[in-house]
Symmetry: C2
Subunit: 196 residues, 2 copies
């Protein structure tokens, strides 16, 4: 199902990123931001490295939040978390009833991904999950500089691109993703790394 | 030593808060914010519940950060972290050479604090550490509503008040403290609690 989204300047977006791979239990951080500017809440859950529980854990984290009713869209920093624990966009949308937007700094190299999956259980199943995430759209978030790439589920591509552009205030990466990344790496490593 | 501080709109301030007391090792989070608006980095360290290592751990966290050279002031959410692990403002200033500003939502009740310290080792030493933190100043951060209270070391009281007012954008609490609090509670409890 595809819904239209009206974008208010103060739209609440949840950005989700994982933390560095320091153990088999990987911390996931969610940053709830209002209009891409104001951090309203932080969520946390854990997933299994290279496991299959990302979609369920993320759904529980989102639906269990007191902010759930205010969140208008979920942004993911890529479609895989904690190594190759892949998020099923359709299932995440069906469980949360929220539009899902995947943010990528580069076009994914599908051949490289296929190769990496060979070292894991069920490589075909995982590859299929990745491919069914849908079309990849290029979005120019800042006037000059490199574009980013997105995938969207439960929302029109143009609406997703609008939300991404409206929340990319300090860099070409939308604030909810930039902030979730800074928190997830800072808390685990003691200091945040720059690249979202 | 007292220094004058010129307050630029994009001043970098590090806000520090502790996380809920769920074990004997308490996570401390630092949020580096530019102009009270833009989260630039997250720092993390651990201290002992009711211990005596807060000042040293905080100093190491601050001086070891790649952002150290840019930070112009340190804000603490109260003077005690992880129960009654007290920060020695003078020692923190001497180790970091950065102005220290303590943020309090209410005037501290010294009699109540004295009473609580009785259950801990070295109650007199701890009480002395708290009292030598200096004068408490009332600061009106928002036009209407309750004021907050601050203590400052290594900076003129008026300059400290100016920094506190300049960074209190979304509530009566300065953003670096509000954000450090949201991160510290969200990461430990799975969801952030509202009160900074």
């Amino acid at each position: 199902m595809v819904k239209e989204t009206h974008i208010k300047p103060e739209i609440r977006v949840l950005g989700i990123d994982d933390s560095p791979l320091v153990s088999d239990k990987i911390m996931i951080v969610g940053a709830i931001m209002r209009g891409g500017e104001w951090l309203e809440g932080v969520l946390r859950t854990d997933i299994t490295r290279d496991g299959f529980d990302a979609t369920v854990r993320l759904s529980e984290m989102i639906c269990g939040s007191k902010h759930y009713g205010q969140i208008r869209a979920v942004m993911l920093n890529g479609i895989t978390f904690g190594g190759f624990n892949i998020v099923d966009l359709r299932e995440l949308y069906e469980r949360t009833r929220l539009p899902v937007i995947v943010i990528m700094r580069e076009m994914p190299d599908m051949e490289k991904i296929k190769e990496a999956l060979k070292n894991l259980s069920d490589p075909e199943g995982r590859y299929e999950m990745i491919t069914r995430a849908g079309n990849i759209i290029k979005v120019q978030t800042i006037k000059r500089g490199k574009p980013i790439f997105i995938q969207a589920y439960g929302i029109e591509a143009q609406d997703a691109a609008n939300i991404v552009q409206a929340t990319s205030i300090h860099s070409r990466i939308p604030e909810p993703i930039r902030v979730a990344h800074i928190i997830a790496t800072g808390v685990i490593l003691g200091e945040s790394k720059k690249r979202a």
